[in-house]
Symmetry: C4
Subunit: 275 residues, 4 copies
Amino acid sequence: MSSNKKQQTWKEKLHTIIYEADTPAGKLFDVVLLFFIIASIILVMLESVNSIDTKYHDLLNIGEWIVTILFTVEYILRLITVNKPLKYAFSFYGIIDLLSTIPKYLSLIFVGTHALVALRGLRLLRVFRILKLGRYLGASNTLVNAIKASRVKISVFLFAVVIISIILGTIMYMIEGEENGFTNIPKSVYWCIVTLTTVGYGDIAPQTPLGQFIASIVMVLGYGIIAVPTGIVTSELAKSSDKKIDTNTQACPNCTAESHKDNAEFCYDCGHNLH
Amino acid sequence: MSSNKKQQTWKEKLHTIIYEADTPAGKLFDVVLLFFIIASIILVMLESVNSIDTKYHDLLNIGEWIVTILFTVEYILRLITVNKPLKYAFSFYGIIDLLSTIPKYLSLIFVGTHALVALRGLRLLRVFRILKLGRYLGASNTLVNAIKASRVKISVFLFAVVIISIILGTIMYMIEGEENGFTNIPKSVYWCIVTLTTVGYGDIAPQTPLGQFIASIVMVLGYGIIAVPTGIVTSELAKSSDKKIDTNTQACPNCTAESHKDNAEFCYDCGHNLH
Amino acid sequence: MSSNKKQQTWKEKLHTIIYEADTPAGKLFDVVLLFFIIASIILVMLESVNSIDTKYHDLLNIGEWIVTILFTVEYILRLITVNKPLKYAFSFYGIIDLLSTIPKYLSLIFVGTHALVALRGLRLLRVFRILKLGRYLGASNTLVNAIKASRVKISVFLFAVVIISIILGTIMYMIEGEENGFTNIPKSVYWCIVTLTTVGYGDIAPQTPLGQFIASIVMVLGYGIIAVPTGIVTSELAKSSDKKIDTNTQACPNCTAESHKDNAEFCYDCGHNLH
Amino acid sequence: MSSNKKQQTWKEKLHTIIYEADTPAGKLFDVVLLFFIIASIILVMLESVNSIDTKYHDLLNIGEWIVTILFTVEYILRLITVNKPLKYAFSFYGIIDLLSTIPKYLSLIFVGTHALVALRGLRLLRVFRILKLGRYLGASNTLVNAIKASRVKISVFLFAVVIISIILGTIMYMIEGEENGFTNIPKSVYWCIVTLTTVGYGDIAPQTPLGQFIASIVMVLGYGIIAVPTGIVTSELAKSSDKKIDTNTQACPNCTAESHKDNAEFCYDCGHNLH
């Protein structure tokens, strides 16, 4: 650590503001950040609407650049104020932050790199830090745990759905044939998933009596098996006893590890002093 | 209270009739009121049907005015018989009652203020007072409590649905493009919500194989995550033990507070004598 | 009882065959009856298919008459073998049996009385007597009890759905207007129910951005509140302990009361000797 | 057993590889097999896509023959290495394996026997052997047990759905008639199932006000009764206590019985020595 005492204090202060939401400044930073994330998403959306884009193209473009530059500054500050920048750069949020920033720069060089902007939506996940309400974090943890606990059962269930869709889709392709919209097996399997999940677009629908009979069976089947994931998640949630969860938003200045205990003095991950 | 003994008695009697459903007169008042609320809704509905409106325009108009005048009289009586009229005027029911009454008057001056009539539907909520059956109130309380208790979990869930819709909607816009109906990102996000909730209108449907593949994933995802709110509400309902709930319909003549205990002598909110 | 010993025995024997499924003859009778009920339903269905009806009109007509005459004979026998014919005639099954029989006779006199044949479907409920498997009766009782126990909660829920549909339907009528298919308020309310229940035909679909935004809210709402009836029924089913249920199919020869205990000597309803 | 010591060892070794997944060789065999099953399904799918089939017809045909020959070899080896080949040949997997292999041979003689290839999807079920993860087997067992336990209740429920569909379908046929797409009763019943299960294609949709009113009832009904199978499965899953389940993949070399205890010396079904 080749930095003098004063500089470290300056970095430490910024670290508290950027990575934590316990102090008023940290909270304000997160609220402002969230505002710009939402603004950036709305900008991308408006840009995609032709009638709006032709009218306000320059305005939207300027807005995009403002957001992009702010995101860039934020990304650089995050890298500077953390002791292990690489660890942040390759963390989930670090990658999302980078990918949300670069598409505008890339659009100067390449055409069609706009696709990455979709990832800006993921930045919305930061909202959970701002809410900074134990119950929100607790609730999302309870949900995530219930889903995790039923992970295996849900995999088995989804696998069964895929097998059923392949078999019934192939059968429907045989029965209905190309003249009724079931032009090939992948499309028939797609139809089967559309029906089994009770979405039912209606762009492809069986026309022959036999096809409609089998479709009815698929529907009742889909109607019945929707009970399975529900049953799985419900019984898991009923088990979970909503234990107290630590909602401290401090992040270790050394390794960015979170969820420290409220009275923690050292990082549980790297042992660095938290204060 | 600058009213003599007799007037107060008259006001008190009316208060009992209008605000409470324990006496035969009070019950009759509520039933008649409900009849006129339903009549007013049917009138608005019929008026919107062109073929009926051209035939019976005058009849419907007269009906509307009768209902509006009756609602006006009722609103004024409610204001008069309550000790704190402002508290009623700015209560949930007070606002609904006012907004259900004024659109017809406004229609004399302005055009297009008809929109407010939709709020008359909310007046239907008064039905719960008339049913005056402990089990209905109890059941609705149990439901409301279960939903309240799972409020935070459901918010987290809905927030996750919004993020998923934004990301997948943007991706689908990239893949399908304008020629397949995904004309802009907001419309793609709309499509994603239509699919995720298994509604599936079919006005926008993916046409490319890759788009249909991703749509299949969205559907199975939507099919799976419907389990989450169900699981949340079910485990809450299973917890709730259907405790006895006070179903007294008396309202304080001073401040309109409700849910007094059956043997209450004074209002729990303002201390006013209830008898 | 003005009948000699022998006649009573003959009536008693027939009663056992027709009303009970414990003896081989009784079981055979019920199976044959079920066969004719299913045949009668298939006949009505085939008759409605134009291409089949034009080809086999006479054949179908003869089949219909055979079924109708057999049903008539069965109905008369049921009236004769019971001690209190009026009680049977006005019981649930008695009315269904009559209404399933008369439409063919009425079709000789009036045109368009065919509508009643739909009621033949209800005769299928007799299948539960034939299955004569305690577990089927037990299972259906458990289900019915769970639904009965949650009757009040489900009413409250359905009432909330109706109010939401009326309000949101009216709002959508204001926003979308006649040019986008929301021709009147009843139709808008219908659209709202189609969307809220996630059926989503797509014959009416919002076209304006604001309409699509509100539709998205309706969908997520519908997606969320589907959790409520599920939660209600699940928590009721979890409570029910699948108690042993009497599955005796004996019916009192005097008053047709059912569900007698296996070792019952006298009818629990009218005190008549069961043997 | 008219085979010398050496041959038996050779057969035994092959049996371990083909029928079991405990040894590295057995696991490798299963992974390779799964790869070819998935390849065979993809081949069938691609062949059905016209644009791909015209381009790569020969390539796909060769691939099909390679897969078919490999499946044939595997099927013969399975028959040889098992002591009771007939028992395997008539087991669930034995029939599936045969039916997945023969359609290509039959296509040389007959036209249109391709229908059987749909059954190849069932071979995917072998994936569960490869996963060879106790928790997957355990999870699928828990699910299957919960569904088995609620078998009777679900039958009753499905039967009720069928009766409701027949009655409401017939009523809608009367109301809407042929001019609105309800051309005959079977089609109306199909519509009713499409609506009741909330699939809602929209190819048939009620047009008359009365028809739309009844359709609304059908939808709310369908929305409500989806709660029933969910409640059934959930309460069963909540009961099941995720007991330890034996996940040994050994198969008896004599009779192919599976699920032996880890320390089993003899087959629990035929008493044959397992080692």
